[in-house]
């Protein structure tokens, strides 16, 4: 479904060109959950933005191909890209606080992709669909949240709203760019559970980007480890976590906090 081949991203907005992603390759099948891990600045978010088709078209040089069901996201026309965005490819961001437009009610924003891509639906159908999505992301009292403004919701609720908005057109690929980083640990676990449920029920492929390896382990089937813009290692979760080959991966795994009994004596 998604094939990224030899992706190179280079910034040209400074005097010296700066490469942020080298020779990135990725293959994803429908319904697969792939984790993309790495420290800050390793190029994982840039890769995600490129796949989502969000990188600006000037100031940058992009080589390679990002094929989504045969359409090259890097070279296709803007209108083709817009048809994919929101309909087949959806993204949830890191900061649920700033992702919602402060001047609109939640319902209006959950509906946005539907209003753009399903023009044939009536207002009432759109409304019903939005309410159903809000219930599916396990928000209690969907009616009330539909009418609320973003500032009236907590961070975890907003992230659920973002997921509802992203999933409303039943996309084939959901890119989750550190969706849990801004949330506290209990809410993190709930969001992970929710993503798992969505994946199981709707067979949506998820590209999960995180620097938290324990979360990736809970959620993903395959893992890609990045460092300094390059792929260091990739494989199934078992391979990476049980038998890491590269020194960097070993270090990352060693950095996961564990609770162990401390021996006295």
């Amino acid at each position: 479904m998604l094939d990224v081949i030899d992706l190179n991203l280079e910034f040209h907005d400074h005097l010296v060109p700066e490469t942020v992603v080298y020779d990135f390759d990725l293959h994803m099948d429908p319904g697969q959950i792939v984790g993309l891990v790495g420290e800050s600045g390793s190029g994982k978010s840039m890769t995600a933005l490129a796949i989502a088709g969000l990188l600006s078209r000037h100031d940058m040089q992009k080589r390679g191909q990002i094929l989504f069901e045969g359409t090259d996201i890097l070279t296709c026309r803007r209108s083709e890209l817009r048809d994919l965005q929101g309909d087949d490819i959806a993204v949830i961001f890191q900061e649920p606080m700033t992702c919602l437009n402060p001047v609109y009610r939640i319902g209006r924003q959950v509906e946005e992709a539907l209003r753009i891509h399903r023009r044939e639906l009536s207002k009432e159908q759109i409304r019903q669909r939005a309410l159903q999505m809000l219930r599916e992301v396990e928000l209690e009292d969907a009616e009330q949240i539909y009418r609320a403004y973003p500032h009236q919701l907590s961070g975890g609720m907003r992230q659920r709203v973002m997921i509802a908005a992203a999933m409303i057109c039943d996309p084939k690929l959901l890119i989750a760019d550190e969706p849990t980083t801004a949330l506290d640990v209990t809410v993190q676990a709930q969001i992970i559970k929710l993503l798992k449920k969505i994946n199981a029920e709707k067979n949506t492929a998820i590209l999960f980007i995180s620097h938290d390896l324990s979360l990736v382990r809970q959620l993903c089937q395959r893992v890609v480890v990045m460092q300094g813009g390059r792929i260091v290692e990739s494989g199934t979760v078992e391979e990476i976590y049980e038998r890491p080959c590269q020194a960097y991966t070993q270090k990352l795994i060693a950095a996961i906090p564990r609770c162990e009994k401390r021996r006295v004596g």
């Binding site: 989502a52 969000l54 817009r82 048809d83 994919l84 965005q85 929101g86 309909d87 490819i89 959806a90 993204v91 961001f93 900061e95 700033t98 992702c99 919602l100 437009n101 402060p102 001047v103 609109y104 924003q109 946005e112 992709a113 753009i116 891509h117 973002m162 908005a165």
Partner: protein, 264 residues
Amino acid sequence: MKKKRNLKYRIGMILTGITVLFVLLGFVWTPCDPETMDKGAKLAGVSLSHLMGCDQFGRDIFSRVLKGSGTTLLVALGTVSFGTFFGVLIGAFTGYFGGIVDEIFMRVNDVLFAFPSILLGLMFISLLGSGKYNVIIALGIAFIPSFARIVRSEFIRCKNMDYVQSARLAGARDLRIIFLHILPNTTTVLVSSIMIGFNNAVLAEAGMSYLGIGVQPPDASLGRMLSEAQTYLFSSPGYAIFPGLALILMVLGFSLLSEGLKED
């Protein structure tokens, strides 16, 4: 839940209300015909038949103040709408798209900004000719740069917000993003600058009419009346005081209202 507004807002609202009431009254009814001259009542003082006295042609000042306030308000509203409309369009597109077009527009803007708006208004009036509607266009054009600049900076601030990215990801076109997603977020700034612009427009209209190139006689306008009253300042001070008071009331009301809105 109803919030209690602050004092400035309430006083501003009352003053503006009074002004609007008088203007509306002036459109439907005036105690005397504002354009009928009465030789016997030249520069008459305050009396029951002429509440604010009469001008040098014996026309009732109260009636003329009512009519004149209407003209001034109309010109100010027209100017601000004109300036806001084009300013928002230019500011939104240049701020959102950036690039070379933005650069060109903003440099032109800088040049226009260097002139006081009255001077620009004078220039355009000399091109268009005087009269009520030309004043609106001339001042409107002169007001565009300041609105364009404010809107542009708001668009630059908003266009990289996450919610704009989300909208783009939902597949929204540029126009949809500009008018549906960003523009409503600029209203707080826009409303207060519209209020300030409105005051400036009232004063600019008065100024231009005072210079004799604004509203043309026999149309009454507050600025025109003030300029005529200047000659008779010592012999009949009421002629200058009443239109002046009306002008002050109008501007003060709107200033307080905009201040009050900003504080809320």
